[in-house]
Amino acid sequence: MPSRTGSHSPTGIGKSLPERGLLLLMVLVLLEGSVIPLGAASSPDTGHQKNVDNHKAEGEKNHTKKAFPVLDLDYRHIQTPFEISLWVLLASVMKLGFHMIPRLPGIVPESCLLITVGLLVGGLIKLAGEKVPPVLDSQLFFLCLLPPIILDAGYFLPIRPFMENLGTILMFAVVGTLWNAFFIGGLLYAVCQIQPANPNELHQLEILPCLLFGSIISAVDPVAVLAVFEEIHINELLHILVFGESLLNDAVTVVLYHLFEEYSAAGTVTVLDGFLGIISFLVVSLGGILVGAIYGILAAFTSRFTSHTRVIEPLFVFVYSYMAYLSAEMFHLSGIMALIACGAVMRPYVEANISHKSHTTIKYFLKMWSSVSETLIFIFLGVATVDGPHHWNWTFVTVTVILCLVSRVIGVVGLTCVINKFRIVKLTTKDQFIVAYGGMRGAIAFSLGFLLKKEEFPMREMFLTAIITVIFFTVFVQGMTIKPLVELLAVKKKQEAKRSINEEIHTQFLDHLLTGIEDICGHYGHHHWKDKLNRFNKKYVKKCLIAGERSKEPQLIAFYHKMEMKQAIDLVESGGGVNLPSAVPSTVSMQNIQPKKPPPAKPVEKALPKMTKGREEEIRQILRSNLQKTRQRLRSYNRHTLVADPYEDGFSELLIKKQKMIALEKKIKDMNYYLTVPAAPPDSPTMCRARLASDPQSYSSKPAMDRVPTIQVDLASPQSPDSVNLMDEFRRADQQEEDQGLTMKAPSGQSGFNRPGEADRGREQQKLTRCLSDPGPSADEEEEEEPFLP
């Protein structure tokens, strides 16, 4: 981290100080700004009321004319949205601020810093004597702040590792949470009972409230886990284990919470209630998943028809998911599991249907919302800590903290012994340690505690204090130390390298192989069912839920196109290399073009002779003028329509064109001439939908043009007989062309030679930029003719 800022040179360091000062000033102003309106809000309310009455009374008597108010301050009118916006702004500015401080983000996880900020803000508000906005104790938390985070997690959940480890995850989530709840609750009750010298209050604590407390505090919190684990980059297996556990234990928590809350009043729980609890658990979890899956399928089905209204595609994803959450909450099912199921189910189909821009939109909106939500949650946690009624009891709190740790460790170790009998890849001690250590509690526990009613639970304040302490302990102590511990124990980190096409091919091959071997053994194992599901998916489901041609596209092709597109974009972004052969996505390979590598050792067969400067300039001129014309043809912008993406509409024609180009290329290749290869993948919608590394709009055509790699056309000398054949070949090919897709009207003379190369390059460049911007569909066809006429 220091090295990065250091590279900015001394001016950078000098700049950062006033920047920081400015930031702090802004923060203080904001804080004051948020406090004052709160103050202003509460006091003049009554005053205003009285004034209105007075005025009314007066008005009835006198009808006096008052001066027309030119400038008026009416805060009450906009109060609520204004305050919400202020809080969100505060949260975001805080996030900015942290990353400006040089070394802090590396040591302290963001969640700790945010809680600290929340404490400060809470303190300020308290000093100003105002009421803290009640966020964590109202439904606002569960209905507004939590869903974005969960949806973000569910939509981008890595399905394969999740499914492979599902058994383990379920064991930890269900059995582990149950164990934690009963262990903590039971032992707390025992401890409270045994101390005779203690103040009486602890003796009052019944077993059921203790168990309720245990169930609230035992659940691992997804928000906290995400916040911390995101920064330590451990390997995928551990990440998915802890994270999956935090998601799936919601069902257990919901059931236990409601069970104990209901029966605390009654005072006893019978065996029948326990039995009902188990059934309720099944209903809650499976019901939640079912609700989520239904909404997911609805969303996928809807997205099939959105080809004409691309603008609102992301909206469907968000709204359906949110409704899944709300519907599940309506029936007291597990909303979190519904949300996860919805996101996971709809994703493969929706992604196949929507445009690449919508995909980017969804991704960034989800990230944005979840980020803001997370920040707000931690800040409010700090604020509520300062505010909330506390009742500190040394025994209770310390015992709680110790029991949480102990029960977690015992639970994880015990369960791993059982789980390892069924796993192929066993969990090592290091893994177990990380899983145990990563079990953090967070805001969900706090909110659940806050929701308890004071009348039924006189010990509510004590509970809240204990919950806060545990949360602080796990987030601060465990959150801060987990990173050095991971380094110390040399736990395997996340592998950053991208998947190569080889891995993809071989993995699929091995899947088929294992399925075959399982069939030979007669064993209906993991692979067998996965294969069956895939077949079912391919045969029936994909046909219903994916529009048009895409339903038949195999996964490998989609993967391959994404890779090629990504590499093409990287290349354009980095400016390409002047001496490298061919630049744009080619059928043959992008491997030729890696700009970061030193010039390839095999230049001879692949390298193409450079063009003269003059030729290069000519090409640039032509391409530039074409692309400018293209831009001028953009239709006027209308908020309700996006210009149609030509690739998605004219797929089949482009495919035919492409095939013709390929056939031509083959003919040319046979004659041992290398031309730049025609661009194939850009035609396919998948290519266009490939995840772009950055915002497409940033790729204006200009920068790409200025750094255009040279076209290198390997030619025999123009006078050789072969060259003449080539030209004839082109002319013949031309006459065969019905449409104007490849107007390689090679003129006579030497200049004609380079034209075909240009034609390709021009087309390719156009296609590439077209993928990135959205010209009108008509722009393509007409432009091609002009540069290539003699």
Partner: protein, 194 residues
């Protein structure tokens, strides 16, 4: 226990097989029962048609390659010992009992597993996966849903990525290298057999 050992006696060379492959007696028995089930004409040997009778295997894109992997080149039948030896490749690596250095590498070591997979690609057994062989595999896996040039480009890219010595084919070492990030023990093990 008694019944098990007597059923074990039915199986020729049971002890040797257990020693060689690392299967336990229960596994050998289970495999023997399966072998007998597949062997419809009770000849003590399996023929390709017996494998073909397994319905799901016929739907598998690489089904026939798997079947032919059981048959050593030139032979037309598979006896129980070869059956077990091939399946030994799919045992999980972690249940290996300690062995002394003198014994040959167990069948389910990572290298042997990869070698088995490699041989499924390399049908002509020349020690390399040529472009044509790779294309064939891709063609069968994709089941005619893609165009020829798409296949060509994928194969080209795959070879370019993996081919380190520029001979336009993937040798076993290159194959192994390209798979180093994949958890082979997990991907090529069947729980049933461990």
């Amino acid at each position: 226990m008694g019944s098990k050992s007597s059923s074990l006696n039915k199986i020729p060379n049971a002890q040797e097989l257990m020693q060689e492959t690392g299967f336990s007696a229960a596994h050998i028995l289970r495999l023997y029962e399966r072998f007998e089930f597949l062997d419809v004409d009770q000849m003590g040997e399996l023929r390709p048609e017996d494998f073909g009778a397994i319905r799901e295997l016929s739907m598998n894109p690489i089904g026939d390659r798997i079947i032919s992997a059981f048959f050593s080149p030139g032979k037309e039948t598979v006896d129980f010992a070869s059956f077990v030896r091939i399946l030994a490749h799919f045992r999980s690596t972690e249940t290996n009992r300690t062995r002394d250095g003198a014994q040959p590498e167990p069948a389910n070591s990572r290298t042997r597993k990869l070698k088995f997979a490699f041989q499924l690609y390399d049908q002509d057994r020349d020690g390399k996966i040529s472009r044509e062989e790779l294309l064939q595999v891709l063609r069968t896996m994709m089941e005619m849903q893609v165009t020829e040039e798409q296949l060509q480009s994928i194969a080209e890219r795959a070879i370019q990525e993996a081919d380190l010595d520029q001979d336009d084919a993937i040798s076993f070492d290159e194959f192994r290298k390209s798979m180093e990030k994949v958890d082979i023990d997990h991907k090529m093990s069947i729980r049933f057999l461990s």
